[in-house]
């Protein structure tokens, strides 16, 4: 059973965001890392780049496949988790902790309200699986 922490917001693209003031910390969910399999490569943007909500900001690759990752909210990147370059396996081991991917200064913090809470995300992944 995938882990879905209560204190985060979730997108239907399987990213999570932790909100502190106008800064959002973003990564991919436990469900997402599990369906990807062994992550062998993470490609992330540079600090200062800006993205609109739901725009692709990078990619995560397993042995078999490439998946784009999308920011749940718009804004400019304030920090990138460089350690994932050399230790992409962190995405499998600690998707909500050490494997955070980017920090973003949100241009419209209200966008968070349209995201899913933990219970809604859990229902969403269950519905997707039975499709």
């Amino acid at each position: 059973m995938a882990n879905v922490p209560e204190d985060l917001h979730y997108s239907k693209d399987h990213e999570w965001i932790r909100v502190e003031g106008d800064i959002g910390t973003i990564g991919i969910t436990d469900h997402a890392q599990h369906s990807l399999g062994d992550v062998v490569y993470v490609e992330l943007p540079k600090t200062g780049e800006t993205f609109a909500a739901h725009e692709s900001f990078g990619s995560v690759e397993s042995v078999k496949a490439v998946s784009e990752i999308f920011t749940p909210v718009g804004g400019s990147i304030t920090e990138v988790n460089e350690t994932l370059q050399d230790e992409p396996e962190k995405v499998n081991n600690d998707p909500y902790g050490e494997a955070w991917m980017i920090r973003i200064r949100m241009s419209n913090p209200g966008e968070v309200d349209s995201l899913l809470n933990a219970a809604e995300y859990e229902d969403f992944t269950k519905a997707e699986e039975t499709e």
């Binding site: 062994d38 990619s59 690759e61």
Partner: protein, 373 residues
């Protein structure tokens, strides 16, 4: 509403599901792409101990009759007359252009009996092709794919594990040879062949005994222990064959690529007598190929994937046929077609990885070669 046609299933479908295999549509077959251990672990375990693969989706075509050998010799590029009873070889069904209908294994059971083992997705096409070339030769063709299951046990421990289930002396079976024997009292073809670059065996048995044999082999190989056999999915099968630089039909070899371009000159026996495509292949050999299949490894951060473009001196000159991380070598590798003048070890190339050009170097293949005992 239109519905997709139902996926074909191997006799091990229920076993894959029971063991947590992640099932995908593979060319119309419902197959496990990986098990809970994951592709990397499955790959590494096969290199260091043993992996078990369900390859029952492969097709088998039985060829019997007085003209079996000359008939198949005319349709395939390798020399069937060189096979002895109990021997198999790698070969190709060729078009008049010297390109590839399919690659296959040809097993010789007797002077009038061969078995062709072909790819799953091309079985029907191969069957039609072979039938359409059947004129007055005295042969009886039978598609026996559904009768057989095929289990591939691969890796340095494969022989030891399989030996616990059979009295056939496995160390007497040479590479690319086979014997008929009993595996846990089930009649089987025990073939010392594989698609991983490791020593190992492919066991063909009656379909309805597949699950029994699968479980027996896993038990015999101490499944569940850190050094035991692991069931492996198609993703590991692909990365293993890629490290060994073995061609995959539809990728390195197609109806658009000739055997010589794909470095398969060693299965083109141009002097064996006439076969479909011989003339063109002989001409191409004399004139030289315009492009050639090469292996490369990435020298910059990035993973090449199938179908991405290859650049040399800023010009788009070819395409990646297979690209992937190589779990045992811990490199990112691939194979690609490039113009013949650039097909040299050490040549710097670039791969267009989704709009980003990433550096790579042409290297010697196979990328991985096991140490022979």
């Amino acid at each position: 509403m239109q519905r997709a046609p139902a996926l074909s299933k191997t006799p091990l479908n229920a076993a894959h599901r029971r063991m947590g295999g992640r099932m995908v549509d593979f060319g119309g077959w419902d197959m496990p792409v990986q098990y809970p251990a994951g592709t990397v672990e499955e790959h590494l375990r096969t290199r260091t101990h043993a992996g078990l693969f369900d390859v029952s989706h492969m097709g088998e075509i039985d060829v019997k009759g007085a003209d079996a050998i000359p008939f198949i010799n005319r349709l395939t590029s390798n020399d069937v007359t060189k096979l002895v009873d109990g021997q198999a070889h790698y070969s190709a069904l060729t078009t008049p252009e010297g390109t590839v209908i399919d690659d296959l294994l040809v097993y010789r059971f007797g002077p009038e009996h061969l078995l062709l083992v072909v790819n799953a997705g091309t079985t029907e096409k191969d069957w039609d092709w072979i039938e359409s070339h059947h004129k007055d030769e005295r042969v009886e063709l039978k598609n026996v794919s559904a009768n057989y299951c095929q289990l591939a046990l691969q890796g340095p421990d494969a022989l030891r594990i399989l030996q616990t289930l059979t009295e056939t002396p496995l160390d007497e079976i040479k590479y690319y040879h086979f014997r008929l024997g009993l595996v846990d009292d089930e009649h089987a073809i025990i073939s010392r062949t594989g698609y991983t670059g490791e020593d190992g065996f492919e066991v063909y048995a009656a379909s309805d005994r597949a699950e029994h044999l699968w479980d027996k082999i896993l038990d015999a190989g101490n499944q569940g222990t850190p050094e035991g056999v692991l069931p492996c999915g198609l993703a590991a099968r692909n990365t293993l064959r890629l490290e060994a630089a073995m061609a995959l039909y539809g990728h390195e070899i197609t109806e658009e690529t000739t055997l010589l371009e794909a470095n398969l000159g060693w299965i083109c026996k141009l002097n064996k007598g006439d076969f479909i495509g011989r003339e063109r292949l002989a001409k191409q050999k004399e004139e030289g190929v315009h492009r050639r299949l090469v292996g490369f490894e990435m020298t910059e951060r990035g993973i090449a994937r199938d179908d991405q473009e290859v650049l040399i001196n800023d010009e788009r000159v070819g395409r990646v046929t297979s690209g992937s991380p190589a779990p045992f070598l811990k490199k990112n590798i691939g194979m690609a077609y490039v113009p013949a003048e650039f097909a040299n070890e050490g040549q710097e190339i670039q791969i267009d990885v989704r709009g980003r050009t990433v550096g790579a170097t042409i290297v010697k293949t196979p990328f991985y070669k096991r140490e022979k005992k």
